[in-house]
Symmetry: C2
Subunit: 428 residues, 2 copies
C-alpha cells in the first residue's frame, strides 16, 4: 500500500471523500460499541461459573487448621489463600496478605497510609512539601488517578521495549528525595504489553534511592495472563531480587484474581517484606477485622493450586487470543505501510497500544465516538490525562463479542485514516 | 444477701478464704474460656448456611436490570442490595451505598478521607491543628481505635439511659469548631445496650455545630438485633430527622449484615444525604472499581426483604437469648444485694455492661484470666483504654457454648467477689 505521506494533496482529498462516504454509512448504522476498558467478556466469566458450586450448605467452611471462615478473624487472609496467591505471583506465602476483591483498593490504601502515617516510621507524606512518583508512560490511568488524587506530582518516564528507561529512573530516584515511588506493571504492561526484562528488574531492585521510604509499586496484574501456551515470557521475582540487592523493603507487589475468576468478586493480595507487611498490618488492625474469607476459601477450593490457575487461564486465552488476532489482522490489513500509525503485538494482558501520528489521538477517539465506538479517552494513558504528543490510544479488545469487535476495528481504522489525512492536508 | 459493705473486717476475711479456695479449685481445671468479643457462635452461623445454596453454576448472576454482577462496575452497589440495606436501617435506597464485608472499614475510610481531603470542600482535617470527637462512654473500642489512629482528640461524654448526655453534647458541638464528630451506636449500644430515645435522636438532629463539617457517625450495627419478639424498642430514622431539622448532611450512618449473615462475609452500607454520598463517591471512584456484587446478590436472593431478615434474626435470638439469660441469672443469684456491682439487662445487641466498684475493673479482668477466662480488657470501652473510674467491664455472651458460658460466669462472679473484698479490706 502506498504511504499516505507520499500521496499528493489531490490523492489525499480523493481518498478522503471516499472514506467519508464509508464513514457516513457506518455512522448510519447507529452502532453502540465499547473498546474502552479491560473488562472480561461474558464467555470468560462463564468459564469460572463452576466456582459457584464448590461451596454449598453442606460444606465445612473451615481452613485446614480448623478456623471458621464464616466468623471474624484471620485479618491477613486464610493460610491456603496466601499459599495460592503467593504461587500466582511467584513469591513465598509469608510475604503475602490476602485482601478483598480489589487490588486497586490495596494500592489506594497503601498510598493513603503513606500520606497519613508514613511508611515504616518515616514522615507522613502529607507533612512534606513535595512528593513525586515516577510514571512509566504510556501507563495505567487508574494508577495515575490515585497519585493525582493525593496531590502527588507525577513525572513521565518513557516505557521502552524492556521496561522503563532505567537511566532516567536511576538518576531521578538517587538524586531527589521527594521521589517516593514508581508505578510499574511489569508483565504485559497496560497498555503496551511490554514485559520487563531481567536486566530491568535487577536494575530496579538495585536502585539507590535518596528517600528511605521510596517504594516500587509493582502491579503484577497480568502475571498469569498469557495469550499463548508456547510463548510465555518469564518475569523475575522482584521481591527476592530486592532482597539480594540489600533492598528487602523497597517493593510493594499487588495482584488479584479479578481477571482470573470474576472481575468484581475475586481476591487480591499485597506481597512484600515482613517489615512492610508488619507496617501494613498495624493499619489494617484499625481498619477492619478481616476480609471475606469464605470467598478466599471458594477460590482455593476451585483453583487448588498454580496448575489449576494455569489451566483456567489457557481457557481464557482461547477466548481472548482470537480477539487480539482479529484486531491485529485488521490493523495490519488496513494500516500497514500507510505511515499513519504503529501498534504493539502483545503476548498477553488486555491491551493493544496504538501510536497515531502526533496530534491525532484525541481526534481519532472523537471521530470513532461519532460512529458509536467508545475507546479509552486519548491521554488517559498519561499522568494528568496529558499525552504530550497526543498520539497514544489504548485498544481493549476483550469485552466486545468477536462480531462487534470486527465492526469496532473497522470504525477505528476508518477514524485513524480520516484524522490522519486531515493532519497531512493541514501540514501540506 | 448481706451487702459486703455492711460486713465486718473479720466477716470479709472469712469469706475471702472460702472464695479463694473455690477459686483455686476452678483454676485447677485449666479452663480456656472467651467472653471478650461480640462474635456470633457457630450455631448462629449455621443458621445462615442455606445462603450458600442460593447461587450456583446455573444461576444467572445478574441484577434485575440485567447488569452482570460478575464483572466490573456498579461501584455503589446493586440496586436490589441498596433496597434491602435501606430497609434494614430504615432509610431510602437512594441514601445508600453498599460496600464490602466490613462497616468498620467504611468508618475508617470516612475518617481517612476527611483527614486527607476534607468533607464536602472543607479543610482536610490533617491541615488543622486540632480535631476532636465526642465519645459517649462506655462505648465501642474499635471506634475509639479509628479516631486515636488518626490523632483525633477524644472527649468522653456520659452515655445515659436514653443516649448521650445531650446538654453536654449540645454545648461542646456548638461552642468548639474543632469538634468534628461524635461516635454513636444508637440501638443496643455497645456495651450498655441502651437505645437512644426519640428526644435524644431529635436533639442530635437539631444540633447547631460550630463546625460546618461536623458529622454524627451513626453506627447502626444492631438495628435488627432484638432478643425478644414482643419487646422491640424502635429507633427514629436519624437521616430524615436531620432533613427535617435543616441539617440534611449532618449524619453518616453505617450498618452491615456481619451479625445477620456471616460475620466475616456479609455486606455493609453507608447511608447519608445525596450530597455526602456524592462526596464519598468522588473518593471511591479513585479507590475501587466496585465491591463484591456477587455476594450482594447472594444476600438479596437469600433474605429477599425485611421480613426475611426479621425472621432470620428471630432464629438468632433463639440462640442468643438463653445466653443472655444465663449470664443475667448468675449475676442476679450471685451478686444481687452485695453492693459490689451493677449490670445492664439489654433487650438486644451483643453485650452486657458490668459496673464494678471503682478501681476494681482491671483487677477483676486479671483475676478472671488467672482462671482461664478472657474478658474484654478493662478500659477498652473508653477512649485511650482509660476508664477514669476503672469500673466498666464488657461481657460478651454470644461466642461460648451455653455450658462454657455457665462456667465462665461462675469464674467472673468469683473474680468480682474476691477483688471487691480486697478493695473493701483496703478501705476499711
Amino acid at each position: 500500500m502506498k504511504s499516505y505521506c507520499e500521496m499528493s494533496r489531490d490523492e489525499l482529498q480523493e481518498l478522503k471523500s471516499q472514506l467519508e462516504a464509508e464513514f457516513e454509512d457506518v455512522k448510519g448504522k447507529g452502532l453502540k460499541l465499547d473498546m474502552s476498558r479491560g473488562k472480561p467478556a461474558a464467555d470468560q466469566l462463564d468459564m469460572a461459573m463452576d466456582m459457584m458450586d464448590v461451596l454449598d450448605s453442606k460444606s465445612v467452611l473451615q481452613t485446614e487448621a480448623g478456623m471458621d471462615c464464616r466468623n471474624y478473624g484471620l485479618m491477613d487472609g486464610i493460610p491456603e489463600a496466601k499459599a495460592l496467591m503467593a504461587e500466582m505471583v511467584g513469591t513465598k506465602p509469608e510475604n503475602v496478605i490476602v485482601y478483598g476483591n480489589s487490588s486497586l483498593n490495596i494500592m489506594f490504601d497503601t498510598v493513603s497510609r503513606a500520606m497519613t502515617h508514613g511508611i515504616m516510621g518515616n514522615t507522613p507524606w502529607c507533612k512534606l512539601d513535595k512528593v513525586k512518583f515516577l510514571c512509566p508512560v504510556p501507563g495505567y490511568d487508574r494508577h495515575f488517578g490515585v497519585t493525582a488524587y493525593f496531590g502527588i506530582e507525577m513525572i513521565n518516564v518513557p516505557l521502552l521495549e524492556d521496561g522503563p528507561d532505567m537511566d532516567m529512573v536511576e538518576k531521578l530516584v538517587s538524586e531527589d528525595e521527594a521521589v517516593k515511588g514508581i508505578w510499574c506493571v511489569p508483565k504485559y504492561a497496560n497498555p503496551t504489553g511490554v514485559v520487563y526484562s531481567d536486566e530491568v528488574v535487577r536494575r530496579l531492585a538495585n536502585l539507590k534511592p535518596a528517600a528511605k521510604d521510596f517504594r516500587i509499586f509493582w502491579d503484577n496484574a497480568y502475571c498469569v495472563h498469557d495469550l499463548y501456551a508456547d510463548n510465555q515470557p518469564q518475569l523475575l521475582d522482584i521481591i527476592s531480587e530486592c532482597e539480594k540487592a540489600g533492598n528487602p523493603d523497597m517493593v510493594f507487589e499487588f495482584g488479584s484474581t479479578s481477571k482470573v475468576s470474576f472481575a468484581g468478586s475475586g481476591i487480591s493480595l499485597l506481597a512484600s517484606s515482613p517489615a512492610n507487611l508488619a507496617d501494613a498490618k498495624k493499619h489494617m488492625t484499625v481498619q477492619t477485622i478481616g476480609h471475606d474469607k469464605v470467598n478466599q476459601l471458594r477460590h482455593v477450593r476451585y483453583f487448588k493450586n498454580m496448575d489449576g490457575i494455569k489451566a483456567h487461564m489457557m481457557k481464557y486465552a482461547e477466548s481472548l487470543r482470537p480477539k487480539f488476532e482479529t484486531v491485529l489482522k485488521i490493523l495490519d490489513q488496513e494500516l500497514s505501510g500507510l505511515g499513519i500509525g504503529t501498534w504493539t503485538k502483545p503476548l498477553g494482558g488486555y491491551f493493544i497500544s496504538f501510536q497515531a501520528l502526533e496530534g491525532c489521538a484525541k481526534a481519532i477517539v472523537a471521530k470513532a465516538k461519532e460512529a458509536g465506538l467508545v475507546m479509552t479517552g486519548a491521554g488517559a494513558t498519561y499522568p494528568y490525562g496529558k499525552d504530550p504528543r497526543d498520539s497514544n490510544i489504548r485498544i481493549a479488545p476483550s469485552y466486545p463479542t468477536p462480531e462487534e469487535l470486527t465492526i469496532a476495528c473497522q470504525v477505528f481504522v476508518l477514524s485513524v485514516k480520516l484524522v490522519s489525512i486531515d493532519k497531512l492536508l493541514q501540514e501540506a
